[in-house]
């Protein structure tokens, strides 16, 4: 039972990061109907920026702020300079462009930083705290939960309570109608990419230091798990991304805790396959609109 509780808390902590990363994918999917395969590489770049700033300044928090800011800029530039110029009538072109961005970013990071892992510090202890003699969660886990929760709540409030959020949703759901109502759809799309870049960068910074450290490929597996989370929850559903992320985190934690980490990828693939077979639009996708 002790192990189960520990694995559950650990799984939820990792799942929260996958949820944030999956949310970044959902933000772009809803706006552009595109799975951003470059999300992982973009996040790897922001992780290196955080690493450089933290190393130079000695401040984790300055590094974190710079990663978020860099995510905003990289996301916006990717949309304005590359994705906007891709013919939207051929979805494969956007996928190829995204993969091209992955190659460019990883090559540039490799040239600048080399291929060695660079250890990164975390601001709080990762030693689990005990409650009643039971190791539960570490201060860093708590930091991850709170950070992701703040991001989720802030995004939720922005989408549901502000004019910009309403415009972003309108532009995502029905771009032609949104334009007729005065919404600058292109600007909303840029904003979606910028937010996705920032959220993805933040998520990567929460998880990369807990593994081997900064590396051009450090976020590859995070992207795969987050993509699975987004598909499980429903690519159209921010709530689904959060639920999917937590589910994937728990599954990974239980599988690696009870059976060994070698099986993790296989089980995630199995989860993805079952969801695609049973409910292809995702577990929390919205039912089809009533036809009138």
């Amino acid at each position: 039972m002790d192990r189960f509780i520990f694995l559950t808390v650990d799984g939820l902590s990792r799942g929260a990061v996958f949820a944030a990363f999956a949310l970044a994918l959902v933000l772009i999917w809803r706006g552009a109907r595109l799975v951003n395969f470059s999300q992982g590489a973009m996040a790897a770049a922001t992780t290196y920026i955080a690493y450089s700033v933290t190393t130079a300044s000695g401040s984790y928090w300055l590094g974190l702020a710079s990663a978020v800011a860099a995510g905003l800029v990289i996301g916006a530039l990717t949309e304005r300079l590359v994705m906007r110029r891709v013919d939207p009538s051929r979805p494969l072109n956007a996928v190829i462009a995204a993969l091209g961005i992955v190659l460019v970013i990883q090559a540039v990071l490799g040239i600048l930083y080399g291929s060695a892992y660079r250890a990164m510090d975390v601001p709080f202890s990762r030693r689990p705290l005990s409650i009643g003699g039971q190791a539960v969660l570490s201060p860093y886990d708590l930091f991850v939960f709170v950070t992701v929760a703040i991001v989720m709540i802030a995004l939720g409030l922005m989408f549901t309570r502000t004019g910009v959020g309403l415009k972003m949703r309108a532009a995502a759901f029905n771009p032609d109608m949104a334009r007729l109502l005065g919404v600058d759809v292109g600007r909303m799309l840029t904003l979606s990419w910028a937010l996705a870049g920032a959220v993805g960068g933040l998520a990567a910074l929460l998880v990369v230091p807990t593994e081997l450290g900064a590396h051009p490929h450090a976020t590859d597996l995070v992207f795969v798990y987050a993509f699975t989370a987004a598909v499980v929850g429903g690519l159209d559903s921010p709530v689904g991304a959060v639920g999917g992320g937590l589910c994937v985190g728990l599954v990974l934690s239980y599988v690696s805790g009870y059976s060994g980490s070698d099986l993790s990828a296989v089980v995630i693939l199995a989860v993805l396959t079952v969801v695609l077979l049973v409910r292809p639009a995702g577990l929390l996708s919205r039912p089809a609109a009533r036809q009138v």
Binding site: G163, L166, K167, R169, A170, F173, N174, D176, M177, A178, R179, L180, L181, G182, V183, D184, V185, R286, A289, R290, V292
Partner: protein
Amino acid sequence: MTGTASGSLRIRELTAGYGGPAVLHDVDLDVHPGTIAAVVGANGAGKTTLLRAVSGLAPRCTGSITWEGTELRGTRVEDLVRRGVAHVPEGRGVITELTVEENLRLGHLWRKDPADGRRAVAEVFEMFEPLARRRASAGHLLSGGERQMLAIGRALVGRPRLLLLDEPSLGLAPKVTAQIMALLRHLRDETGLTILLVEQNVRSALSVADRGIVLSLGRVVVDDDAGTLAADADLRHAYLGF
């Protein structure tokens, strides 16, 4: 609900389409301030393309479209509302994932005066009571009539001077269609709104319109007083099928 009635829409030598053969050919028409012009014709005549050309949604377009004396062509679609033009497209364009209230808010977000926007939404709720009762319902839960009310209401919260309305009776019961037509008449008479109405329901459209324009294969074949058009048996038989 609307602004001043100074609007006049003037279309000259308009040819428009989507990249293949043109759908509209050398269309000339005028819509005078505070009047309803009904564009009627068979399926494929180019009625919807006419409205899309005015809004800038038809990608291939030549000729001239002036509104209140200024050329509309070249205006970005998202800037159209700032020129006082509202377009309710075919199929109503209700954003079904948003609630009734959110759809209406969206109609005035571009305006600088949020307080007036809220007043306009309140006026729409007064005008369409069923919408007020369902303000928190998602658009996909509304009936066809409610969606049409929402689409027109959302256009009105922007306080337009020109309303482009595409097939408002599509899929609606005759009673609801009559209510929609009565509303258009009310808007014209009470607020001076200029309306370019595209409609397959010819009788309903001509019953409220001041001007009737018949499109056939992308060309204007008749442009006359709506009452005259409705009363002319030869014209009706030749072009309108009743």
